[in-house]
């Protein structure tokens, strides 16, 4: 197939900006989707007993709390890692402890 157009580019500098934006948007969307999958799975273990005819209000509240606490946990870990990295770098040669 002979591609006479250069929009796909022989060099990597000529990426179609429309495609570039599309890729960024879709990547962002996928990150969101993946986290929803992951949190649903985790929170299901914590919040569901026996599946009933509907999601009762207690279970629903549990799921909401679960999401919030998961995000809190993630942020906590990042923050603390950043702090301990300053005084005692984890990701270096001195991997004792």
């Amino acid at each position: 197939m002979d591609s006479s157009s250069s929009s796909s580019g022989a060099g990597l500098g000529t990426v179609d900006p429309q495609l570039q934006h599309f890729i960024e948007v879709e990547t962002q969307k996928q990150r969101f989707q993946q986290l929803v999958h992951q949190m649903t799975e985790l929170c299901w273990e914590k919040c569901m007993d026996k599946p009933g005819p509907k999601l009762d209000s207690r279970a629903e509240a549990c799921f909401v709390n679960c999401v919030e606490r998961f995000i809190d946990t993630s942020q906590f870990i990042l923050n603390r890692l950043e702090q301990t990295q300053k005084s005692k770098p984890v990701f270096s040669e001195s991997l004792s402890d």
Partner: protein, 95 residues
């Protein structure tokens, strides 16, 4: 204009790649992948919840349980999606 199926990928033999067609095809592929992911996790969870000692077939109570479990899993997924979205918007508002 020919359809962009097969190996042509929206080029229609003109040598130009149509970004619009590519984007649509990618979106479809992403949607399919997400559906598969959902189904896989749902199957895992509902098998765990509903099947005790595996018998020679799925009995009525097991089938009913699986059906309810599927609906509840979707409810859970939607609840999580909404909660996460709210949280993200709140974070953005606080920046």
């Amino acid at each position: 204009m020919e359809s962009g199926f097969g190996s042509d990928f929206g080029g229609s033999g003109s040598g130009k790649l149509d970004p619009g067609v590519i984007m649509e095809q990618v979106k479809v592929q992403i949607a399919v992948a997400n559906a598969q992911e959902l189904l896989q996790r749902m199957t895992d969870k509902c098998f765990r919840k509903c099947i005790g000692k595996p018998g020679g077939s799925l009995d009525n109570s097991e089938q009913k349980c699986i059906a309810m479990c599927m609906d509840r899993y979707m409810d859970a997924w939607n609840t999580v999606s909404r909660a996460y979205n709210s949280r993200l918007q709140r974070e953005r508002a606080n920046m």
